[in-house]
């Protein structure tokens, strides 16, 4: 779960990472009021969960409260990369001398948290990583020991941080590490961490991603979820325990198992079609889940064909077929459905489906070919 900048900053503050004075607002007049409280010069920052907000015009420096109100009203009406701006963060404007990049992520190869730091902060770090990888330092942390002072000093040294800032930097890095660890984050990032003209350090921007699987122990963070960034169908799918991702194509997919769902999408693409979604209904393919999955797929008007690919293992194919039939009957469907059932009792399952208007296929490739043909208006 991605957190907004203002949410991440709230967490950072709790863990002792200094942030600029500021507040979140959702109407322009509020921005003016906040600007007055903060002494006039403020930065208005759109709160949307995509990168490149600045380039898109979603971050602006206002010299006085009136300008703050104007910019706030502009930004609040914007859409950035398809996402509506519903909230803005109004932060005091800070004059700074240097920008540092500092983040903690999980290192998949070494199974531990890792510090990523660079003296070249304030820009797209992925670009830095590509153009001059030597400017990025990476440092693994022992998950049972946690971050040690000497390691924080090593990081400060390797980004050539002047000694006067070390003490402050070490405190900030500890704060960031704790914020990362205690909230079950998979990313906690400050870009930039600035050194101000009056020699303070603070996090001008903040980004966190929380491990969805760990939300059960963070009830306070669940409220942070922004449903705006998810397609309504994805929100609906979560209710039924379905794993669903909306894509742009025309062939709706319903598959049991994530790997098989990906493979099904791949084969559609290999045969000249494009999948409308990724959907894993999980094991068993119970009637309630199948019905919900069909409704969710059909909510996308671009879908012209539905391809159902089920491997019946412990749940036998005839049982799956019965479930599919009742769900398909319940959900009024006007577009063609291609079903590929394979596994235990597949003949029996297929025969059950033959009684209806459902098309069956005996291989994944032929199911994909049939679906692509129907999606492009061809006839069988």
């Amino acid at each position: 779960m991605k957190l907004h900048e203002y949410q991440s900053k709230k967490i950072f503050e709790q863990f002792g990472v200094p942030i600029p004075k500021g507040r979140v607002a959702n109407i322009a007049s509020e921005a003016k009021q906040i600007a007055e409280e903060l002494g006039g010069r403020v930065v208005i920052k759109s709160q949307v969960l995509v990168g490149g907000r600045g380039k898109a015009g979603g971050i602006k420096l206002a010299k006085d409260p009136n300008e703050a109100m104007k910019f706030a009203s502009d930004i609040l009406g914007m859409e950035i990369k398809g996402l509506p701006v519903r909230k803005i963060l109004v932060d005091e404007a800070v004059n700074f001398e240097q920008e540092i990049y500092l983040a903690i992520i999980n290192n998949r190869s070494n199974n531990c948290p890792m510090i990523v730091a660079s003296a070249s902060g304030g820009v797209d770090i992925e670009e830095v990583a590509q153009l001059s990888p030597e400017k990025i330092i990476k440092y693994n942390i022992d998950p049972l020991l946690g971050l040690q002072d000497f390691q924080a000093r090593d990081v400060a040294l390797s980004i050539d941080l002047p000694r006067v800032y070390w003490k402050n930097f070490i405190k900030i890095l500890h704060g960031l590490y704790h914020a990362f660890w205690e909230t079950d984050s998979t990313l906690a990032e400050i870009n930039p961490l600035v050194i101000t003209k009056d020699e303070r350090m603070m996090a001008l921007d903040a980004k966190m991603i929380i491990d969805d699987n760990a939300l059960f122990r963070h009830p306070d963070l669940i409220e942070f979820r922004d449903l705006d960034i998810e397609a309504p169908a994805e929100v609906e799918a979560r209710k039924y325990g379905l794993s669903f991702i909306k894509l742009d194509g025309e062939i709706g997919c319903m598959v049991n198992g994530a790997g098989l769902a990906m493979a099904t999408m791949d084969i559609i693409q290999q045969n000249g079609g494009s999948p409308a979604n990724f959907l894993d209904i999980g094991g068993g393919a119970g009637a309630e889940k199948v019905s919900a999955a069909l409704r969710i797929i059909l909510s996308d008007p671009k879908v012209k064909v539905i391809l159902i690919n089920i491997f019946g293992g412990i749940t036998r194919c005839d049982e799956v077929a019965k479930g599919l039939l009742s769900s398909i009957k319940q959900t009024k469907i006007k577009i063609p459905i291609v079903v590929r059932l394979v596994g235990t009792n597949e003949e029996l399952g297929r025969r059950l489906l033959c009684d209806s208007e459902i098309l069956t296929a005996d291989s994944l490739v032929s199911a994909a070919k049939t679906s692509v043909l129907l999606a492009t208006g061809g006839e069988l």
Binding site: L144, N213, T344
Partner: protein, 288 residues
């Protein structure tokens, strides 16, 4: 022969009395797996499966009483780390965690602890292991493969079943099937498993099923080029997956442009691995 589990494996099941646990334990039992004990804290002293399998309160007690040397875990995600740590502390040499949805932070700690214990972990978020005709340790359906000479290793569940079933349809069986799981932080990896297959006299060829996310397939490609003498056929899922989206499995995500199917396929091809376009094709690429 086989790898990791066989007829002699003495299997203990953590979470044997839960819904999922009971169902799959019964399937394992019926398959002929040597299920020697169950563990459910608070239910020690009970007997399950017509009084044939004793239930214990702790792994340590169960191990001492039955000599269990494999533990398979079916407990809910929030208790899974505790279950893995308990099994490792009792020094069960092979721990198989089926549970999906274990927090990454838990897995990071579990891995660190297990590395000191020198025990094997398979999973989590995996279908487990199956040595056809000998032992089913997990949820891989028993009737979709038969004994044979193909070692199968995979990050996925049903995708593996597809491949096994297509192999069976072509009269090809497997030595052992290993589901290593779809989580970013997990136990046994591709290289560990390939090493075991390379050393197993009953395995003559290997099927490897990977997917987007991480770099395990690339590392495996390097290992194959250097050390494998047995032929490997691979399928990588997720060519059509968009970047930045988690495709069902927690570990199946293209991050910062890394972990794409293309780069994995390329690395494997360069190492002499045959690449299948779709899972059904694998069967036709194996040596009869």
């Amino acid at each position: 022969m086989s790898i990791l589990v066989d007829k002699a494996s003495r299997v203990l099941i953590q979470g044997i009395t839960g819904n999922e646990g009971q169902f799959h334990s019964w399937q394992m039992f019926q398959y002929g797996t040597n299920v020697v004990a169950g563990v459910t804290p608070g239910k020690g002293g009970d007997w399950i499966f017509d009084g044939k399998v004793p239930v214990f309160d702790s792994v340590k007690v169960a191990k001492d009483a039955t000599g269990a040397n494999v533990s398979v875990i079916f407990v809910p995600a929030r208790y899974a780390a505790d279950a893995m740590l308990e099994a490792a502390d009792a020094e069960i040499p092979l721990i198989v965690c089926i549970t999906e949805g274990v927090p990454v932070r838990d897995m990071i700690q579990v891995r660190k602890f297990l590395d000191q214990k020198k025990v094997y972990l398979v999973g989590p978020n995996c279908p487990g292991l199956l040595t056809p005709g000998q032992a089913k340790v997990g949820i891989i359906p028993g009737n979709i493969t038969k004994p044979g000479n193909v070692g199968v290793v995979s990050r996925s569940g049903t995708l593996t079943y597809e491949v096994l079933y297509a192999m069976l349809a072509n009269d090809i069986g497997s030595s052992t099937c290993v589901g290593i799981g779809g989580d970013p932080v997990h136990g046994l990896n591709f290289i560990d498993t390939l090493e075991l297959f390379e050393a197993d006299p009953e395995t003559d060829q290997v099927v490897m099923i990977g997917e987007i996310g991480g770099n395990e397939e690339q590392l495996a490609a390097d290992y194959i080029a250097r050390y494998m003498t047995k032929p490997v056929v691979a399928f990588i899922a997720g060519e059509s997956a968009p970047p930045g989206k988690r495709m069902g499995h927690a570990g199946a995500i293209i991050e910062s442009g890394e972990g794409t199917a293309e780069e994995k396929i390329h690395a494997l091809r360069v190492s002499g691995v045959q690449i299948a376009h779709h899972p059904e094709e694998i069967a036709s690429m194996l040596i009869r």
